[in-house]
């Protein structure tokens, strides 16, 4: 059912997206990036958008709850740290980041095939959770390669300005959203949604379920790996505790849920909103804000379980009015 109205609506959507992106591109020009905190906040929000979108692709669209985002995030960061500290790649090296993403994707495929073929649902969630924990422990034991629990320090003298980070993060957010959009629109995407809604039916119409699940998982891992790589470049210190922290999975999940799981705009809205909310909480409640965050998570789920962009469950593909 493609009507004129829907067409013009999607055009309006596109136009709005272009305007928002253009505005965001202009931010570092308007605000002084060296002194403005907004630039940094947007930078972190973009990374969260990309991470949330990566999770959304795996879990929102295929229905497989992955708790392994942080495993891929951390792996990406370690690829950069190990590569750069040994002079194999450079500062903000796109090739290095690609390498980081690919390493994460390969791990995703290696782990994804056995996990996804045998496990469904909860087992998959547990398995991916275990993956992050294993990587964390292995990097602690990794001796010279990972510099153990200390982690790897990178030459922070390379840092000059936040501007390239800002744009790279913006690019990552757009890439993640674009990839998700593309995959959902494509036949692959329809297959993904089909597998989520009814696995038996999907199998019956001849979709190779495992292939698509693994593909989605690998692409999600790739995106998370990229985010980890960028964060590594920004922090200049990659260590197991922080980079394999479960919060790199849980916060994006929360952002997805707040915005709307399985929608394209949901993760974007959720990430921007929560980055701001946590920041404010931290500022005004320095000693008790994690309590507030915990409470916020619970309240959001209880009163907004289907997200801000879609207050009704059932059709997951896109926002029903705009679809």
């Amino acid at each position: 059912m493609k009507t004129m109205g829907q067409n013009s609506k999607s055009k309006r959507r596109l136009a709005l997206t272009v305007v928002v992106v253009a505005l965001l591109t202009a931010v570092p020009g308007v605000l002084d990036p060296e002194t403005s905190y907004v630039v940094f906040l947007l930078f972190s929000a973009f990374i969260y958008v990309a991470l949330a979108q990566a999770w959304n692709l795996v879990s929102g669209y295929t229905g497989q709850v992955s708790l392994g985002n942080h495993a891929f995030f951390g792996l990406g960061a370690y690829v950069i740290a190990i590569g750069w500290s040994r002079g194999l790649i450079g500062y903000l090296d796109p090739l290095g980041m690609l390498l980081a993403g690919c390493a994460a994707a390969i791990l995703g495929i290696l782990v994804g095939i056995p996990l996804l073929s045998k496990l469904r649902g909860d087992y998959f969630a547990l398995g991916t959770l275990g993956l992050g924990e294993i990587l964390r422990l292995v990097t602690i034991q990794g001796r010279a390669l990972t510099a153990g629990p200390t982690g790897i320090f990178l030459p922070s003298s390379s840092f000059t300005t936040i501007v390239p980070y800002y744009f790279m993060a913006l690019f990552l957010a757009l890439l993640a959203t674009g990839v998700t959009y593309y995959m959902v629109k494509s036949n692959t995407g329809l297959a993904l949604v089909a597998t989520r809604d009814d696995e038996a039916a999907a199998a019956a119409i001849g979709i190779n379920i495992l292939k698509f699940k693994v593909l989605a998982f690998a692409v999600g891992a790739f995106l998370a790996g990229l985010c980890g790589a960028l964060q590594a470049y920004y922090v200049f210190h990659v260590e197991p505790q922080g980079f394999f922290s479960l919060s790199w999975t849980i916060y994006p999940v929360l952002m997805c849920v707040l915005g709307g799981v399985g929608t394209l705009t949901g993760p974007v809205v959720g990430a921007v909103f929560l980055t701001a909310a946590f920041e404010v909480a931290k500022y005004y409640l320095p000693e008790i804000h994690p309590i507030f965050s915990g409470l916020l998570i619970i309240l959001v789920i209880m009163f907004l379980p289907n997200g801000l962009v879609r207050l009704r469950r059932g059709r997951i593909v896109r926002n029903p009015k705009a679809a």
């Binding site: 940094f40 929000a45 629990p149 200390t150 840092f159 260590e239 809205v269 931290k282 000693e287």
Partner: protein, 408 residues
């Protein structure tokens, strides 16, 4: 029709929301009419290290209040005394959050200087961040070698010297009559950055004093069960040990030591055995165990006793570390006055060249590479109190040999 907020509109709303919040955050005071010195610190106010963060924050606040009571710090550049404004941001005991918090301190609060975060895993990344934003960072409790390795230009590090600190157990052991000394020593260092770094140094120090470790192994952090390792110690006839681990781990270790029946004549704990919670959790079983300490209120330095007493009034327990943080503030304040400016590079220069007299840690002198050291102390739990057994200056008690568990 159902109520559905559409994505783009909502996205726009969120952006407005963010912008509104940013406006809500305090804006910086223009540099021209500077009327206070803004000093920031990221500390673990929540999470694992929140107790430590709270104490460190308290010490900073005391120092700031004390200097402000005198009218502030005289800064020549403005030809007046400027009061100190301390801003503490939470890092949730997480390195990544600490870096973000530094970003906020620098960009929103426009701090002039940064005071130390807590422990190496948090101090190192914040030192990196200070480097990025070119703000002078007056750091402590970060082992010197990893800090030195990075050749930081915008921070300094005030901590104990590894060689001295690891020699303490052997100096103390040397005071025990030969016949009573433990025959077989074990080195149990936690599987963390600090543990990994200090392990080899302990061995080196032992060698110099003529001691050898018959057994050494990293200790897993946060494990609830050390009985396997304790069994190993027992099967090897170990009767003395150095244990470097957090307080929870130390409690578990000592308790299981007693369960398994491992008798150690001498157990020198690092990091995890000096807290009151250690005594509270173990009671009499903590007796005879040694602990390290950064500082002692029994030090014969000006105000040491007073600060110790103030801490006691506030926390109802004794501290073997709080003076370090107070002294850190003292040196920073003196350096600012000596530099006569709020320029970070110049203040760092002043830190390196000034001879700091009469802090609660005694006299302090920084090295050209940005480090300064203090002697690590040692205490022993005797009748529920930490008695200083090292350094052997006035007020030190003799060390006692721990009898076997069944003879207590």
């Amino acid at each position: 029709m159902m109520m559905t907020l559409r994505g783009p509109r909502l996205m726009g709303l969120s952006l407005v929301f963010v912008a509104a919040m940013m406006l809500g955050l305090p804006t910086a005071v223009p540099a021209a009419d500077k009327n206070e010195i803004v000093i920031g610190a990221t500390l673990p106010l929540t999470g694992m290290l929140s107790m430590m963060g709270a104490e460190q924050k308290w010490a900073y606040e005391q120092a700031a209040a004390d200097i402000n009571a005198e009218g502030g710090i005289y800064v020549k550049e403005y030809d007046k005394k400027l009061p100190v404004k301390l801003i503490v941001a939470d890092n949730e005991t997480d390195a990544g959050k600490a870096v973000a918090a530094i970003e906020r301190l620098v960009k929103v609060d426009k701090v002039d200087f940064l005071l130390s975060d807590s422990t190496l895993p948090l101090v190192m990344p914040t030192a990196v961040a200070a480097e990025k934003w070119k703000v002078y960072y007056h750091a402590t409790i970060c082992l010197l070698p990893p800090w030195q390795e990075q050749k930081f230009k915008w921070s300094t590090d005030y901590f104990f010297d590894g060689a001295q600190a690891t020699a303490v157990p052997f100096e103390v052991l040397d005071t025990i009559p030969e016949a009573d000394r433990p025959k077989k020593l074990a080195l149990l260092a936690e599987d963390s950055t600090d543990g990994r770094i200090l392990g080899p140094i302990f061995k080196e120090a032992g060698k110099q004093y003529g001691y050898e470790f018959d057994y050494e192994e990293p200790v897993a952090v946060g494990s609830k069960d050390y009985s396997s390792q304790i069994l190993k110690l027992k099967s090897k006839g170990i009767d003395g040990a150095i244990l470097f681990a957090g307080s929870g781990d130390c409690v578990t270790f000592v308790r299981q030591m007693k369960e398994v029946g491992l008798n150690l004549k001498y157990l020198h704990g690092y990091k995890g055995t000096w807290g009151t919670e250690f005594w509270n959790a173990l009671g009499q079983d903590a007796e005879y165990i040694l602990a390290d300490g950064f500082w002692s209120e029994t030090y014969p330095y000006p105000r040491a006793e007073e600060i110790g007493e103030r801490y006691y009034q506030n926390f109802n327990k004794r501290s073997v570390s709080i003076g370090l943080f107070y002294a850190l503030c003292q040196t920073l304040f003196q350096a600012i006055e000596a530099a006569g400016t709020l320029d970070g590079a110049k203040v760092r220069e002043a830190v390196l060249t000034t001879e700091f007299k009469g802090t609660v840690m005694g006299d302090i002198k920084y090295n050209p590479d940005g480090t300064a050291v203090f002697p690590l102390a040692a205490f022993q739990w005797q009748e529920g109190l930490l008695r200083r057994v090292y350094p052997f200056v006035e007020g030190a008690s003799p060390v006692l040999i721990a009898p076997p568990w069944d003879k207590r």
